[in-house]
């Protein structure tokens, strides 16, 4: 009886249960390191090179449908659109004429104030190819990638306002996370009151101003623009409009859902803004003077 082992044709490698546990642990490890630690971007890049040809081939039907619908767009619609664009251009033209003069004036004033000049940024026009298929997030794929000089972290706008931010860059395409994605946050300012806050995507096509006190000075209809404090988005780009303000005495913070200003979920061409130039150095930490300011923290001066 000793030394009896099953004949080789029954051998199937490790037991199925052992294999199952091994692969489950492996994929869990991948999940954690991708979602929580973000270690795997290089690995993903490598694999995406393999998947790219198949992806491109699979995107062709979507391209075809889009082109076909463009082709069959009725003449009437195009004429209406043309008229709208022309009137828009006329309206904008007048402002544009004044812009140069204003910029000149602004520059003068800023030099007078010894403030840093606002840098113009380089930008790239990109087209949205399709919506990423992952149903858990709100991402779209752009047709420009690392080869067009796009980097992760760049801000993306359309003609009305901020759309989102580039989160992953592949050689020929890049992934744009929309503002309405649940993981996306953007530092903003309420135009009317100058209140600074952070705007989060809430996942249902809306956004939410969070961590504002229940008595904060926010009203429905308030315009919200970027504050530029993050060094990614330029200051003053329109982001959203406050839809309503729900103040609940039981809660510390108000619930403030906002409507995105840009056509966050319906656009075809977007502008990828270049990185802002480096921010000025942080002001040196002010040593709290214990004797003079009793218990009050020394605040760094506002910009």
């Amino acid at each position: 009886m000793v030394g009896h082992s099953p004949p080789p044709f029954f051998k199937r490698g490790p037991a199925p249960l052992a294999k199952l546990v091994f692969f489950l642990v492996l994929s869990l490890a991948l999940l954690v390191s991708d979602l929580k630690l973000r270690y795997l971007d290089a690995f993903r890049q490598g694999l995406s090179v393999l998947a790219y040809p198949l992806q491109m081939a699979a995107a062709t039907p979507a391209d075809f449908v889009r082109n076909a619908s463009d082709y069959f767009a009725s003449l009437v619609r195009l004429q209406i659109e043309n008229k709208e664009l022309k009137s828009k251009q006329l309206q904008g033209g007048e402002r544009l004429l004044r812009l140069e003069q204003l910029e000149q004036e602004n520059r003068h004033l800023r030099t007078l104030l010894e403030a840093r000049e606002r840098q113009p940024v380089k930008s790239t026009v990109a087209e949205i190819m399709y919506t990423a298929k992952d149903p858990f997030s709100r991402k779209v794929i752009l047709d420009k990638g690392a080869q067009a000089g796009i980097e992760a972290g760049q801000a993306v706008v359309d003609d009305v306002g901020v759309v989102g931010q580039i989160t992953r860059v592949f050689p020929m395409q890049s992934e744009l996370t929309l503002l309405t994605d649940k993981d996306q946050a953007i530092p903003v300012m309420v135009v009317r009151s100058g209140l600074r806050a952070v705007l989060f995507g809430s996942g249902d096509g809306l956004m939410e101003l969070r961590y504002l006190a229940a008595n904060a000075d926010v009203q429905p209809g308030d315009k919200i623009v970027t504050s530029g404090l993050d060094g990614v988005f330029l200051a003053g780009l329109p982001v959203a409009t406050v839809a309503r303000v729900e103040r609940d005495q039981a809660q510390t913070f108000a619930r403030i859902p906002c409507l995105p200003a840009a056509g966050v979920e319906r656009f075809t061409h977007v502008l990828v803004l270049g990185h802002r130039e480096s921010l000025p150095a942080r002001p040196p930490e002010v040593e709290p003077v214990v004797g003079k300011l009793k218990g009050r923290k020394a605040r760094p001066a506002k910009e």
Binding site: A29, L31, A62, K133, D134, K182
Partner: protein, 173 residues
């Protein structure tokens, strides 16, 4: 092997290149950017379940893991999300294989439906734990569509293995 274990028709042995071709075709179908269209079936899970039930000795958990990773890359999901689900599908399909093959295609589809449904539930749980938004109930409709697709798939994927019905007197098998 037979189309089902009750059938009296003998099939030719499966060719592994055909198995992998169909898996890559399914991957291609998964890559088609349908956006957030509801009720799009997960083709890779379906074809993987099919081959894991038909050929439990030849294809299994390893293939599930690799094709899961490829799906993750292509659809922009979290790395390991589909891999996790497909590994479970492949294991369960391998284990169920000896039972499922006794049934007719329609009854087989009823066995596959909970498998695919559970794979989606697993993915939703994993992503929700990581803090993603809930995609909505319509998403689960995809596995019902996939289960319906099982019936035509059962014939299409076995086509290369069928033998001519007219017997050749000189070649009895």
């Amino acid at each position: 092997m037979q189309p089902t274990n009750r059938s009296r028709r003998i099939l030719l042995p499966v060719k592994m290149w055909f198995v992998y071709t169909t898996l890559f075709t399914a991957l291609f179908l998964n890559y088609i950017p349908t956006g957030h269209l509801p009720a799009v079936p997960d083709f890779v899970a379906l074809v993987l379940a099919f081959w894991c039930i038909r050929e439990p000795l030849k294809i299994g958990i390893g293939a599930g893991f690799v094709f899961g990773l490829l799906t993750d890359i292509g659809v922009g999901a979290a790395l390991g999300q589909h891999a996790f689900a497909y590994v479970l599908v492949a294991y369960a399909a391998n284990e169920l294989s000896r039972r499922v093959l006794w049934f007719t295609p329609v009854e087989q589809a009823l066995h596959v439906l909970p498998l695919l449904f559970l794979s989606q539930v697993v993915m939703v749980i994993v992503r929700l734990m990581a803090g993603a938004e809930f995609p909505g109930w319509w998403m689960f409709f995809g596995s019902f569509v996939a289960a319906v697709l099982w019936i035509p798939l059962h014939y299409v994927l076995l086509l290369p293995q069928y033998q001519p019905t007219e017997r050749d007197e000189n070649r009895p098998i």
